[in-house]
């Protein structure tokens, strides 16, 4: 399989090797990583560089609606927003993708096909992942057949936390196979993994199993994405790239609501993973309300006065 490169063929051979490898990864010192991310959080981004960051962030948004109350109408208006985030300003970049439940994929595809906006679907018994593998595969295939270009799967946190790394690994590989050409984002649900060491292990496990992206959260568990967790994941894709030459992506999701937050993440991307990751193909924001704040801040930058919520569209 292409997903585990030759360097790591040995470590994924069996459960024992996998465990040994994951537990042999350097530890993460919690205070150290939190300090580093807080330090980077004090970077001050102004003027042209802020404008650039805002547009970049917009282009990285996976505009998301994952509600029981979602309707085709809601998804259609979300897609309109994705295609053209600020109707008054056509130069605003479109977002990277919309992210919806599998049954909404068809609606979304109809709205965005040909625009360059992707359609991501959550799958594998999102958000808990508590179902049979058969159902999870079917869930994935349903979304892919409906035209999803990206699949956001959840890992079985129960299996991970009880040390069944092989089982999680196999599941990711199986889903990856079911994805066909769709790119796979592996949701670690870091809020349930509890420690940075676990986040690092789960990141490597997902990368070994062939995940194109590692994603922090479903958005249904608190805490969702945090800066230090994202640091650890960015470090993992950086190290993976250094070891294999393969670029993989990171997607923090949940809780990123303001431009200020988004810029902090971009600074981390720039300085932890590297400038190469400042690219929607390698970094995404899973968010809904973030986009409007980015648009408001963008107007503020251009118009020289503060904007208000009535000047961006509510979707």
């Amino acid at each position: 399989m292409k997903t585990s490169t030759r360097e790591f063929a040995d470590v994924t051979r069996d459960e024992t090797s996998l465990r040994r490898f994951l537990h042999g990864l350097p530890g993460v010192d919690a205070v150290g990583v939190e300090q580093r991310s807080a330090g980077l959080g004090t970077r001050s981004i102004k003027k042209a560089s802020k404008m650039h960051a805002i547009d970049l962030a917009i282009s990285m948004v996976d505009l998301t609606t994952l509600e029981g109350a979602d309707t085709p109408g809601k998804v259609r208006s979300l897609c309109a927003k994705a295609r053209r985030p600020d109707p008054d300003r056509p130069e605003v970049p479109k977002v990277a993708a919309v992210c919806v439940y599998p049954d909404m994929v068809e609606t979304a595809v109809a709205e965005v096909s040909g625009t360059g906006v992707g359609v991501a679907s959550v799958a594998t018994a999102f958000p808990s992942g508590r179902s049979s593998l058969r159902i999870k595969i079917a869930d994935t295939e349903f979304a892919v057949e409906a035209g999803a270009t990206e699949i956001d799967m959840v890992i079985d946190r129960g299996a991970f936390l009880s040390g069944q790394y092989g089982r999680v690994f196999d599941e990711i590989r199986t889903i990856k196979a079911a994805c066909g050409n769709a790119r796979l984002k592996v949701i670690l649900e870091t809020g349930e993994l509890a420690t940075y060491d676990n986040v690092r292990r789960a990141s490597w496990l997902a990368l070994l199993a062939g995940g194109d992206f590692i994603k922090t959260s479903t958005g249904k568990v608190s805490p969702a994405a945090t800066l230090p967790v994202t640091h650890v994941m960015l470090q993992a894709v950086h190290d993976w790239h250094a070891a294999t030459g393969e670029p993989r992506g990171v997607k923090p999701a949940g809780g990123i609501r303001t431009t200020k937050d988004a810029i902090r993440y971009l600074v981390a991307v720039n300085e932890v993973a590297g400038p190469r990751w400042l690219d929607p193909r390698l970094f995404r924001f899973g968010a809904s309300s973030l986009l409007n704040d980015l648009l408001m801040q963008r107007r503020t930058q251009l118009e020289g006065h503060y904007s208000g919520p009535d000047y961006v569209t509510v979707d």
């Binding site: 010192d29 919690a30 205070v31 150290g32 939190e34 509890a194 420690t195 940075y196």
Partner: protein, 288 residues
């Protein structure tokens, strides 16, 4: 009294756990307070002093590495053996200092009690002088007192045993090793003390006692780069400033005391312990 001829004792140096003569082959006569000849004492040279510092550095590793409990036991053992030689010490102190037998006995008793007092300190120092530091951040920080290393001691000139014990015992209790230049004119109780130390489980090199001329040896002690601290208690007054200046060459900790010897019978505080201790602060993050 019988007519038996007594076996005279040869007073030697105490160095690295052994009793060598001075490498220089020199001795000097020691008299009692009235000027009557008592013995020939070895007159240590700067090379003896150099050997002593080397021995002390080795001894320091063992002594500072021992548990505080163990150090306390060893020091207490010294007091036990001292007690057993009470009469001998009293005679030597009486002869050396020219005090009445009863007074000498009392000084010896106080010296033994002082030794016991310091023996009990070994495993309390860290409790009393250490700290948990409530730093403003997610760190566990603590401070522990640690022995500074090799201490050069110029022992009191007048108080031949109690004074010596009062300056040596705190250095040992703190975990330091010592190179002691004994009272120049009253060295005999110090040499007898070294025999006690040699038979009391104090590791070799932890205490080194050099008899000889203080003014000759002190500058070498003050300038020796492998000596961490210098106790000037018995330094000749006219040399004190020079010695202190010399000690600055390697930033030694210098224990300065008034030129006039204190009343050694007074109850001590822990200032002499503090003088030969360093505070080490350790930090570690707290995080899962």
């Amino acid at each position: 009294m019988s007519d038996r001829v007594t076996v005279a004792k040869t007073y030697k140096l105490y160095l690295g756990g052994a009793f060598p003569r001075s490498e220089s082959g020199r001795t000097y006569p020691v008299t009692d307070a009235r000027g009557k000849f008592l013995a020939n004492a070895a007159q240590a040279s700067r090379k003896d002093l150099r050997e002593a510092v080397g021995a002390a550095r080795k001894g320091f590793g063992k002594w500072s590495g021992a548990t505080a409990y163990n150090r306390g036991q060893v020091l207490y053992r010294v007091a036990e053996v001292l007690e057993g030689r009470r009469e001998q010490f009293a005679a030597e102190v009486a002869a050396s200092e020219g005090v009445p037998q009863k007074r000498a006995q009392s000084l010896v008793d106080t010296a033994i009690d002082r030794w016991v007092w310091y023996a009990g300190w070994t495993d309390k120092i860290a409790t009393v002088l250490g700290a948990a530091n409530p730093v403003a951040g997610p760190y566990f920080s603590f401070s522990v007192p640690e022995p500074t290393g090799v201490v050069g001691v110029l022992a009191p000139q007048r108080s031949s045993l109690l004074g010596l014990v009062s300056v040596l015992a705190p250095a040992l209790a703190a975990g330091c090793a010592a190179v002691v230049v004994t009272s120049q004119n009253r060295p005999l109780p110090a040499i007898t003390l070294s025999e006690v130390l040699a038979t009391s489980d104090v590791p070799a090199g932890v205490v080194n006692l050099l008899t000889g001329h203080t003014a000759e040896l002190a500058p070498w002690l003050a300038t020796h780069a492998d000596v961490n601290a210098l106790d000037l208690t018995g330094a000749p007054p006219e040399l004190r400033t020079d010695l202190e200046r010399a000690a600055a060459g390697t930033v030694k900790r210098v224990l300065r005391t008034p030129a006039e010897e204190p009343d050694w019978t007074a109850r001590p505080d822990i200032a002499r312990l503090r003088a030969v201790l360093e505070t080490k602060t350790v930090w570690h993050p707290m995080g899962a």
